[in-house]
Symmetry: C2
Amino acid sequence: MARFRKHDRMPSPKQFEPASGTRDFLAAEFERREYAFSTIRAVFSRYGFQPLQTPAFERLDVLTGKYGDEGDKLVFKILRRGEHEATGEADLALRYDLTVPLARAAAAYGSQLPSPYKRYAIAPVWRADRPGKGRFREFVQCDLDIVGSSSPLSDAEVVLALYDALDALGVPEFRFLVNSRHVLFGLLEAYKVPDELGPGALITLDKLDKLSPEAVVTELVTGRGLSPEMARGLVDDLTAPDSVARIRSELKASEGGQAGLDEVDRLLELTKGAIPTERIGFAPNLVRGLDYYTGNIFEWSHRAHPGRSRPAAATTASSAGSAARTPPRAAAPWASNASCP
Amino acid sequence: MARFRKHDRMPSPKQFEPASGTRDFLAAEFERREYAFSTIRAVFSRYGFQPLQTPAFERLDVLTGKYGDEGDKLVFKILRRGEHEATGEADLALRYDLTVPLARAAAAYGSQLPSPYKRYAIAPVWRADRPGKGRFREFVQCDLDIVGSSSPLSDAEVVLALYDALDALGVPEFRFLVNSRHVLFGLLEAYKVPDELGPGALITLDKLDKLSPEAVVTELVTGRGLSPEMARGLVDDLTAPDSVARIRSELKASEGGQAGLDEVDRLLELTKGAIPTERIGFAPNLVRGLDYYTGNIFEWSHRAHPGRSRPAAATTASSAGSAARTPPRAAAPWASNASCP
């Protein structure tokens, strides 16, 4: 009988590798991950969040149309079975995130759930991205949501639970960045960007952490139809060293923007004392989740390479925000949600 | 703002239900299941089994051809993405069990794994069955395997670990049934069933726990081509109250069958003392996993409804056995494997 020998490292032939963008976890790494997940679970439970587990796949119609065109393209679709297989059609799809399944479940079990419903989920999701280095098509999301409350305390509670979880995991040098969708729209208003150009402009502004300011200005003008003055002004304000002060001043021209700023300040106020001030701050250039966040947006980041000096080297590990994307039938607005890696 | 009210039970509209054959787990049930899984994990770890986690899907070619026609039909296939979506072809599929992924991983990481490699996995699998009452298309399997040992101790170790896990879970009145593929083939030999009819005959005999003895005899004759004498003799021997004594006597006519009986007796001997004798026994009518088991086959069952007197009311919860289905490239035979619910 042939036996494996330890340390007898043969190159592993491609045919035995897991499918592209997925990973096998042998014992040591499995245990490390389980330890991290159980640490996170323990913190979330302490904050009164309840676990919810939904199936790996949903009916296709539940998933599509929720993520925009780009997202829909990245959904792994499951072929119909039996005689219907020949049609080449799909009727099911692997979940792309944990939020749409939550919305479905909240609608299905609303009457059996506490209100507000504070739930967490730590589970794999699947995206048919062409996986770049260090990115995967199967990866674990860790979501924290409060359904059925619009209290500002809910945002604070989510941020505090996330902070404690990161702290318990021993993540070094992480920082929360906070913004509000109202701040972003207020800024567009202050620069007199026509309403119909606003959403496109924000999608481009979201690239400020990847592209140069020049490239963003160009895209705003040629791709999004903004005047060169608007584009230049917005990008200058968002990238200046005194960006926060500039934005605070600009927003005086917009009632909605001022309200957004108050929203951000309230969140910072509510977490004061519990989160060191150097670990959380207003980040007017943070643009995320435009399709569903309605109020605060927050994100935590940590420097992947501590040697680098630019915060642009930060690894975005989580972004979240208040969302009023109403679950299908439940009328309760979404208070807060957050995902961690 | 509308809020959910507790106990305000509305019928849940179909559109918010999880996909057919899948379930959502709210907090209480999630926690109960997690507790059970962690209890099982703790026992398996104590026996030196290591966790292995593989992705939810595999390349289609890794999965197909491993389960026979029936199994292949039950695999959820994932549609190609992007420009290839229009072809209606699949290139990936959700795992159907945890054994084929183990075989792939053992081939990929063989040199990094201990030998023998004792692994467990507790994870969902997906089968495109039309789900009957109480059956699901997404369900958790809990597998225990030893790769790279053909020692009879390995079978005993798997049975003991399973016994301890069931005991730790507080499962009442469970019992292990043990048989050997060699016993089954020895029986066919004793009844002079032609070799080419053997595998088909065993598939039909496997239905003895679902069909009446008469129906099984009929299928053996009309469907499998056995003579009425062979069919009647086999079914009588396997269903008689003194079945065990009859089989032991019949097997004297078959060298392979006698070897199978020795195999069963050795397993019973090795677990003696650790497992009460009323909890484990030779079950010559146990036919399972014909496509891959080569030596011992075992199964544990418990009475779903303790009030019923017939063991036919037993719920088969796990079946397992020794398998020499060699992993793709690793030459090491499979010692034992077992799945629990």
